[in-house]
Amino acid sequence: MSSIPDNLKYTKDHEWIRLEEDGTVTVGVTDYAQNSLGDITFVELPEVDDTFEAGDSFGVVESVKAASDLYMPVQGTIRAVNDELTGAPETVNSDPYGEAWMIRVQLDEGANLDDLMDAAAYANIVG
């Protein structure tokens, strides 16, 4: 069974989203995603200040077997990127909800997390 923390929001594309106290959101991929991908060998992330619409591809995660796009869960601007993953992509396998966070996003005005799933809804889609 995959770990699905209750305090996070989720997308159908297997990203997790955490709302921080300063109003930004942190994004990574779920335990289910890392387990399905297998050994992660490379993570390609955007630059700080890049802007995205919800649903845009903001990066790529590669495993031995395949390359998969990462999708923006919200509309906003990149405020921080986890550069540690460049040298240690395997962290995505070992700590997907912690050390392997990927981006921190400032939501655009009017953007919100209303369309994202809670843990129970996400658990339903990953069975």
Binding site: V64, A66, A67, N93
Partner: protein, 366 residues
């Protein structure tokens, strides 16, 4: 998992050991048990045990079997004797590859062919069609056999501990038929990983018992179960071709780097000889090469190879990350002119152009 997928005699063994099972060549096979990278490294550094029971086995026997096989395949079957095996390919008339295979001579007039899982039906039909006029019989005995591969620097030591029989003096591409671990088996000093080891053909019903014994004894020596994921990365690091990638109906053995198994000088004619001789005489227009990349992005199958001006020069055939190097490796079919002119070759992955470093296998030994 679809009900139509075939299962090897080790299916329950795989689920007991938490394998991730995937469809492969019509079979439900373990792609990994723990991690592809970890399983790969275990084979390079200690030992790995693979279920390769999906591979096909074909028995060819009769007084005309030797002459027939010499016509069927490109390598020289006259070099065989009981207890020896050869690696070869069989070709279509136009030189394209039907399959690559190992032929074992198991009796004076009896041979045992190991062919690729995905090709068994096609191969048996092809072999049977070519045998007209030869005094020999062809039987698909794939269902009768399980097959295990024990590979790695500690493989021979583990085999000795598990079986009580020391095969360390058995030469590469030689085999022994007899009683091993209380069952009849063919044990050959062959493999598909670039490491020392054996491949064990045994009655299907005995495969799980023997696999359990080897695992039980081997785990104290670093043995791990290994799935098809690491089997692919191991063979690519070693520079071994995979049917459908480096060789195929469209990629002949000369182009595929298997010129060494095409024996033009052998006494008998063989299927595809005329076409292959013509290609050799005219000069090959493309060639399979192996490469490494100085990057983390993997150049996957189908990625175009380009020159510095963006002109196409070939295509990637196989691509993965070398677990031993931590860098991408692969194979590609490239224009011989581009290789001759030594022009810098590149791949473009997600708008990043990365130079291709053409390299001789084994790719993990830099």
């Amino acid at each position: 998992m679809s009900d139509s997928l075939k299962r090897t005699p080790l299916h329950a063994f795989h689920t007991d050991h938490n394998a991730r099972l995937v469809p492969f060549a019509g079979w439900e096979m373990p792609v990994q048990y723990t991690s592809i990278l970890q399983e790969h490294r275990a084979v390079r550094e200690a030992a790995g045990l693979f279920d390769v029971s999906h591979m096909g086995e074909v028995r060819v026997h009769g007084s005309g079997a030797r002459a027939f096989l010499n016509k069927l395949v490109t390598n020289n079957v006259e070099k065989l004797q009981v207890g020896k095996a050869i690696y070869t390919v069989m070709c279509y008339e136009d030189g394209g590859v039907v399959d690559d295979l190992i032929i074992y001579q198991v009796g004076d007039e009896e041979y045992f062919l190991c062919v690729n899982a995905a090709n068994v039906s096609k191969d048996v039909e092809w072999i049977t069609g070519q045998a007209v006029g030869f005094d020999c019989l062809i039987d698909d005995v794939s269902e009768d056999f399980g097959q295990l591969a024990l590979q790695g620097p500690k493989a021979m030591e583990i085999f000795k501990l598990a079986s009580g029989q020391d095969l360390s003096s058995l030469k590469r591409f030689h085999f022994i038929q007899g009683s091993f671990m209380e069952t009849n088996a063919i044990v050959s000093r062959t493999g598909y990983t670039g490491e020392d080891g054996v491949e064990i053909y045994l009655p299907a019903g005995e495969a799980a018992r023997v696999a359990n014994r080897i695992l039980e004894i081997g785990k104290d020596h670093g043995l791990q179960l290994v799935g098809l994921g690491a089997r692919d990365s191991l063979r690519l690091e070693a520079g071994y071709p995979l049917y459908g990638h480096e060789i195929s109906a469209q990629i002949d053995p000369l182009t595929g780097g298997l010129g060494w198994v095409v024996k033009f000088q052998k006494a008998t004619d063989f299927v595809g000889r005329t076409a292959l001789q013509k290609r050799l005489d005219e000069g090959l227009d493309r060639k399979v090469v192996f490469f490494r990349l100085e990057d983390r992005r993997i150049a996957r199958e189908g990625t175009e190879i380009i020159d510095e001006d963006g002109n196409p020069c070939g295509k990637v055939l196989s691509g993965t990350q070398s677990p031993m190097l931590g860098r991408p490796i692969g194979s590609a079919c490239v224009s011989t002119q581009a290789l001759k002119d030594k022009i810098p070759l590149l791949v473009e992955i997600r708008k990043t152009r990365i130079p291709l470093e053409i390299a001789q296998p084994p790719l993990h030994k830099v």
